[in-house]
Every structure is written in structure tokens, then in C-alpha cells.
């Protein structure tokens, strides 16, 4: 596996798996950046359907800004990790990267690390529920 491929894989995994906070919104959410992207798209569709009224614009801006921030931040993190792995285990970069991603999936699928205040019923706690 090339370092570039490892970086992209780690980056995508972080965006889909790593729980991150959302500032300025009540309820202390803690879900992956892609979940915020999903919500931002929901708000965007609402704006198209119902017009730009009330808090729709600010909420979309808030969610969108967080998504952009986390996309950039995780790109940097993935770049550093991929570079480190390429230096430490150049011959096993692929397996090492896949192991990290698999570990992330295993942990988030079994340990209740997520917290979304937006959901309708039970709290979303694991990967199996957060993208329901």
C-alpha cells in the first residue's frame, strides 16, 4: 500500500468513526464528522424546501463549519500517522493501516462512544446505531 493510499484510508476512517464535539449547540453531541455532514445536508434540504428562515442558516453554518474543520484536522492527523507508519513499518504499511481501521471499527461498534442529542428514540451509542 502506498503512503498516499494509507493516508486516505485513515482520513476516511477518522471522518466516519472518530467522535468529535459540536461547539455552541446545546446537548454536548459527540458523533463522527460525517454525522454532522448528514445533519448539515438535512438542514440544507430544509432551506431549499422551506426557505431560509429562523435558525436554519446559522445551524447549517455551524454544522458546515465543523465538518470543514474536522475534514482539515483529520487530513493533517492522517498525514502524520501515515508518514509515521511509512517510516516505522515501511514493509507492513498496508496491514498496519488496515489494522488501525479495523481496530477503530471494532471499538466503535462495541463500545458506546457516541452521543447524539438529535435522535428520536434511544441514544445512539455505537457505530451500529449512529448511521442507522
Amino acid at each position: 500500500m502506498q503512503e498516499k493510499t494509507a493516508r486516505r484510508l485513515l482520513w476516511a476512517a477518522a471522518l466516519f468513526l472518530v467522535p468529535v464535539p459540536l461547539a455552541l449547540f446545546i446537548g454536548d453531541p459527540f458523533v463522527p464528522a460525517m454525522r454532522y455532514l448528514e445533519l448539515a445536508l438535512v438542514v440544507l434540504i430544509t432551506i431549499f424546501v422551506e426557505g431560509l428562515h429562523g435558525m436554519a442558516g446559522p445551524i447549517f453554518g455551524l454544522l458546515g463549519a465543523h465538518v470543514l474543520l474536522y475534514i482539515g484536522l483529520f487530513w493533517l492527523v492522517a498525514w502524520v500517522v501515515a508518514r509515521g507508519l511509512a517510516r516505522l513499518v515501511p514493509s507492513a504499511l498496508g496491514p498496519a493501516t488496515l489494522a488501525i481501521v479495523a481496530l477503530g471499527i471494532a471499538v466503535t461498534a462495541t463500545v458506546p462512544v457516541y452521543d447524539s442529542p438529535f435522535h428520536a428514540r434511544l441514544p445512539e451509542t455505537t457505530l451500529l446505531e449512529v448511521y442507522e
Binding site: 455552541l24 445533519l39 430544509t46 424546501v49 422551506e50 429562523g54 436554519a56 435522535h119 428520536a120
Partner: protein, 635 residues
């Protein structure tokens, strides 16, 4: 202070005065006369601010209890509380320790139709995008929809159709069920055990400034549809609708509107301009005073009595204050200062200035408390086991939160009406004549009479109440012109501590205060007088056990004469009855969760407020009477 025998005599005079077998209340709808009628009136405890699953925000918070459930709860029956499990079983049951005498479900008239449409499969709009968002992400849907209605010029969502016809039609079902629930709960038998009122909340929120009013109907003759902020976006337009569709409609309909949460009104609740921005005129002042005879001074989202940095530097004004001028500050603190005229006392004082200017007082209102529960739980005011009211940022929809509510919020208060009997007409008349008071939760009893000739020893008399009425006016009234030779009015001021229950004693009283405001040279002034104090050292509370220590008094009574009276000045007086310190709900909740601020391991996620010095742990519960006004003779 008087002796125990005298106190008992006064209590007896108030609570055990002879009943008349003949009802003298003029009924405006059919009902049996109440068997228990007291011409000297009794205090009836209730709540006029109650939301159920029919309110959009309550539904978003997971509340499933209906208006019927709310009235069952008010009468002492248990109801379920969210979160609900997959089978629909509630996580816990709640129940009042003492039933209420009266209650009113006041669901938001705005979004009444939308709430039904988004939750009823097959209803028009059920499959709309915005309803789908609301069902899938209720709090996001709530933020998107509610904020749209909090704009300067609110508009309906597309699912409402042309002229909001669909949503207004769909609101008819819930409006009917609110009326049916009130009808079912109202005791029309001679036992008169419980009174329900039909009502709703007009949820005015221009630019997020709270100008909400709860509309109370006297009887079952009500508007065909509740007035909504979206269609009628000013208080004046609400009043016009009430006049056109109720008071002047010759249908037997009668109503008042009760403003609430002026504390987060950004100064819009007690405006001295009309909706066009012109200074209020005499007709406008009289109209407001006629329609808005009461103001809700305290509730779940804070106290609205007075500002801590106000004219009197009142040391007790810091009670349950929110630190922002509108509810938007809860989510996005901006550091905006609290504008003038957001508190009831400021408005009462400004009313005197306006009276001197216009010849009529627009802010001639009495005071009550209520809860603003969004759990359909009227009267749920106990600090000790407060489960939250689900009206703020802390949701119970999905799970029981670490702390039941925002540390800034509180369980709310009660409305108390002095009436001859527990019937709608008797209680409504008490609201209209402002013979009412509010408490911060405890069932404190207080009497307040103003006159010119009360004897200094009146508190010792067995017939103090009869003499109070005969020689003057009760709370809510206006002093008669001063008789010849009298230089200052006298007031009978009395308070009794909450009698408590066999399981839990009430907290003793610390003091009685008279708050006076007057007009002088076109400006408002105010002063606070301590008129009676419990003997002995001040009470204290042990935070670890919430035990109340110190002596306090079970009752206090005095006859007070205004030492600074000027017969040429407009003035008003109201009484504040103050309990000894006791634990606030936050301290009870933290104790129950085993928090020890010296042991960091006990301060788990979500319990940080337990050890935040900025979050109040102790409070002094209180009651506020409606004022008695003095109007100087012309010239």
C-alpha cells in the same frame, strides 16, 4: 409578633370562618352550587401554565401525557414520565404530594396543528420533509421550526398551505380535546373538589423576545380557535381577538390574558408604546388593565419580580435570575445587558408614572406564580425531588439526564386565589379583581389588607379578616380616598408558613416585607420595608442533609403604617413573605447522586454544576401578594 394563641385565632378566623349554605356566586354556566362557601374567602392553590404532548416543544422533548393526564395529575393521580421504552412504558411515575385545587392546560396555540400533523400517520403534511425531520431528529426539527416562529415576522411552514388553512384546521382537533379534558376534570357537583379552566398560550416571540400570554377563559364558552402569534403577532392584536371573539361576542365568553417571563422579554413585555410605536394613550392603558389583570411573576424559567441592581438595592432580588435578556441566551450567550422594564416591579412602578400622565394605569396587575411544566405535571414544585420540567435545553426524551434540568432553571411556583368557593366563576372573579398571589412553590398563606382606620392590635382580633374587608380593601384593590384627619394608610400584613404534610414539614418564615413604589415628578421610586421578623437568630441550612436549622416563625402578623406616605403621589404596595433558607433543587439532586465536592471522583459527567459556586444551592422560598394601589385625589 404576637403570641401563639393570637396566631391560632387568626388562622382560625381565616381558615375556619363560618360557611354559608347559600351560594352567592353568580354562575355563568350550569353547575350545582358549592356546598362549601366562605364569604371571607379561602386560598385555592393551582397552576395556570401547563404544557402537554399537544405542545410542539413538549412533544419534541418526548412528553406523551395529554391534557386529560395533566388534570389527573393535578387531582393527585400518578402519570408516567419519559423516557419511554420500546413497549411504551414510562421510566418512572410522578405524583403530587398534595393535589391542586385548580389548574389550566395552556398548550401553545402556535404549532398546535403542526404538532398533530407531524405525529399522526395519515394526517395532511405527515409525510412532508419538515415532519420527517422532526420525527427523525426531534430537537433539530424543534430548533428549525421554533426559531422560524421566533422571528420578527413569523411565517408558517409549507405544509400549512395557503393562508395556513391546513394547519389551522388541524389545530381544531387538539383545541377540542383541550376543552373536553377541562370539561371532564371540572367538578360541577356540590363537592367542588377541583376546577379546570380552558385556556391556551399565545406564544409571542418577536426577535426571540418573550411576550407570551396565557389566555384563561371563565367558562366553557371560548373562542372557536385559539389566537396565534403567527397570524396575530402583537399583544394588541391578541387583545382585539379576545374582545371580538370573546368578551364582546355576546356568547357568554369571558377571558383574561396573563403575561409571563417578562424576564426574557428584552423589555418588550411592559412597553409604554403601542404596536405602532406611539406612546400609549389612556384608552390603551385602560384596555390593558382590563384584559391583563395578572402577571406570572415566577416559573420554571426564572423569576421576574425585580432586578438586583434596581432602585431599592433589594438584597432579595437575586432570587432565580436568568443572566440573559432572551431565551436565545441559553444556547448562545451574548453578554447582552438586561434592559429596563423587564421585571414586574419595574412595570408596577412605571404604571404609577403612566397613571399620573394619562389618568389610567396600564400596569395595574396582580401577581401569581405557575410552573410552565412541559411534562403535563401541574403543581410539580417540590425542590426535593424535582425531575425537571423539560422546557429547556435538558431533554429527557432519550434518557434520564445526570441532572434533571439546567441549573439556571427551577421547579416553578403556584398561583393562589382568594375565593369564596372552588368554582370557575368564583376563581375567575378572584383573578379579575386581582385577589391573588404567587408563591415560589411552598403553600404559604398570606393576607394583605389596606385601609385607613385599622387598629394597631388588629392581629390579635379573632375577626381580623372580617375587619380587614370591612375597613379597607384586600390585595388587588385600590385604597379609598383618605378620610379627614388620616395622614397615612395602614396595612394588615399576615403570613403563615406552608403547613407541610405528615411526611414533610413546611419551612418556617423569616420575615414579612412591604414593597412600596411611588411616582414623584414623573419618575418611579421604590423602597423595601421589613415589617415583621421571626425572633431569634437567622435560619440556616445544612447542605449535606438539607436540614433547616434556626427558629423562624410559623406565622407573622403586623399592622403597618407607611411612614413616608405622601397623599399627593400615586403609590402601590405589595407584600413579600420570605421563608428561612432551605436547599434548592440542585443541592437535593447532588446529595442524592452522592456528590462530594471534596472528592473529585464523585463529580461525574454532567454533575459539574454541583460544585460550581455560580450555581445556587440554597434559596429562600417566598410569596408575593398582588399590590394595593393608592390614587391621589384629582388636582
Amino acid at each position: 409578633m404576637r403570641g401563639a394563641a393570637a396566631r391560632m385565632a387568626v388562622i382560625g378566623a381565616i381558615l375556619l370562618s363560618p360557611a354559608s349554605a347559600t351560594a352567592r356566586v353568580e354562575y355563568t354556566e350550569s353547575r350545582a352550587p358549592c356546598a362549601d362557601y366562605d364569604p371571607l374567602r379561602r386560598p385555592f392553590f393551582g397552576d395556570t401554565h401547563v404544557h402537554t404532548a399537544l405542545s410542539f416543544d413538549a412533544a419534541g422533548q418526548g412528553t406523551r401525557a395529554t391534557p386529560r393526564d395533566a388534570y389527573r395529575f393535578a387531582r393527585g393521580e400518578p402519570i408516567g414520565l419519559q423516557p419511554y421504552d420500546e413497549a411504551g412504558a414510562p421510566s418512572e411515575q410522578i405524583r403530587l404530594r398534595r393535589p391542586l385545587d385548580f389548574a389550566m392546560v395552556s398548550d401553545h396555540s402556535d404549532l398546535l396543528g403542526e404538532t398533530r400533523m407531524c405525529q399522526t400517520p395519515g394526517a395532511p403534511g405527515y409525510d412532508s420533509w419538515i415532519c420527517t425531520v422532526f420525527r427523525r431528529w426531534p430537537l433539530l426539527g424543534y430548533a428549525l421550526i421554533n426559531s422560524r416562529y421566533g422571528m420578527e415576522r413569523p411565517t408558517r411552514m409549507s405544509l400549512c398551505g395557503e393562508g395556513a388553512r391546513v394547519c389551522l384546521e388541524q389545530a381544531q382537533g387538539p383545541w377540542k380535546s383541550i376543552q373536553d379534558a377541562a370539561e371532564e376534570a371540572y367538578d360541577r357537583t356540590p363537592a367542588c373538589t377541583f376546577t379546570s379552566f380552558v385556556g391556551y398560550e399565545w406564544t409571542g416571540m418577536p426577535g426571540m423576545a418573550n411576550i407570551h400570554r396565557n389566555v384563561v377563559f371563565r367558562n366553557r364558552n371560548v373562542q372557536e380557535a385559539p389566537t396565534t402569534f403567527v397570524e396575530d403577532p402583537t399583544a394588541e392584536r391578541l387583545w382585539t381577538k379576545l374582545e371580538d371573539e370573546c368578551l364582546d361576542a355576546a356568547t357568554g365568553c369571558d377571558a383574561i390574558a396573563i403575561p409571563h417571563n417578562s424576564n426574557v422579554s428584552k423589555g418588550m413585555m411592559f412597553r409604554i408604546e403601542d404596536e405602532a410605536g406611539a406612546p400609549i394613550d389612556r384608552a390603551g392603558a385602560e384596555r390593558r388593565a382590563r384584559l391583563e389583570t395578572l402577571v406570572e411573576i415566577t416559573q420554571h424559567k426564572g423569576d421576574s419580580e425585580c432586578r438586583p441592581d434596581g432602585l431599592s438595592r433589594d438584597e432579595l432580588c437575586g432570587y432565580e435570575k436568568l443572566a440573559y435578556p432572551s431565551l436565545a441566551g441559553e444556547a448562545l450567550p451574548t453578554g447582552e445587558p438586561i434592559p429596563p422594564r423587564v421585571h414586574a416591579r419595574e412595570a408596577l412602578a412605571e404604571g404609577l408614572v403612566q397613571h399620573a400622565r394619562l389618568g389610567a394605569n396600564p400596569f395595574r396587575f396582580g401577581l401569581i406564580g405557575s410552573t410552565d411544566t412541559h411534562l403535563a405535571a401541574p403543581g410539580l414544585v417540590d425542590e426535593e425531588d424535582f425531575p425537571g420540567h423539560a422546557a429547556g435545553p435538558v431533554t429527557r426524551r432519550m434518557r434520564i439526564p445526570p441532572l434533571p434540568d439546567s441549573p439556571r432553571y427551577n421547579p416553578g411556583g403556584l398561583a393562589v386565589l382568594w375565593a369564596e368557593e372552588n368554582s370557575r366563576d368564583a376563581l375567575f372573579e378572584a383573578m379579575r379583581r386581582r385577589e391573588a398571589y404567587g408563591t415560589s412553590g411552598p403553600r404559604i398563606v398570606t393576607r394583605f389588607f389596606g385601609g385607613w382606620n385599622y387598629a394597631g392590635s388588629l392581629c390579635d382580633a379573632a375577626d381580623v379578616v372580617a375587619q380587614g374587608y370591612a375597613g379597607g380593601v384586600p390585595m388587588g384593590g385600590e385604597l379609598s380616598p383618605s378620610p379627614e384627619g388620616k395622614t397615612a394608610p395602614r396595612f394588615v400584613v399576615a403570613g403563615w408558613q406552608d403547613a407541610g404534610t405528615p411526611q414533610r414539614a413546611g419551612t418556617p418564615l423569616e420575615r414579612l416585607q412591604v414593597i412600596k413604589a411611588w411616582e414623584e415628578d414623573g419618575e418611579a421610586h421604590e423602597r423595601v420595608y421589613d415589617v415583621a421578623r421571626a425572633p431569634g437568630p437567622a435560619g440556616t441550612v445544612d447542605l449535606s442533609s438539607c436540614e433547616v436549622n434556626g427558629r423562624g416563625a410559623s406565622s407573622l402578623c403586623t399592622v403597618w403604617e407607611d411612614p413616608d406616605f405622601d397623599p399627593a403621589r400615586h403609590a402601590m404596595y405589595y407584600v413579600r413573605v420570605v421563608e428561612s433558607p432551605s436547599c434548592r433543587w440542585l443541592q437535593f439532586a447532588c446529595n442524592r447522586r452522592g456528590v462530594d465536592c471534596d472528592a473529585p471522583a464523585t463529580i461525574t459527567d454532567g454533575l459539574e454544576a454541583c460544585c460550581d459556586d455560580g450555581a445556587a444551592k440554597v434559596l429562600q422560598e417566598r410569596a408575593w401578594t398582588s399590590p394595593i394601589w393608592y390614587v391621589p385625589p384629582p388636582g
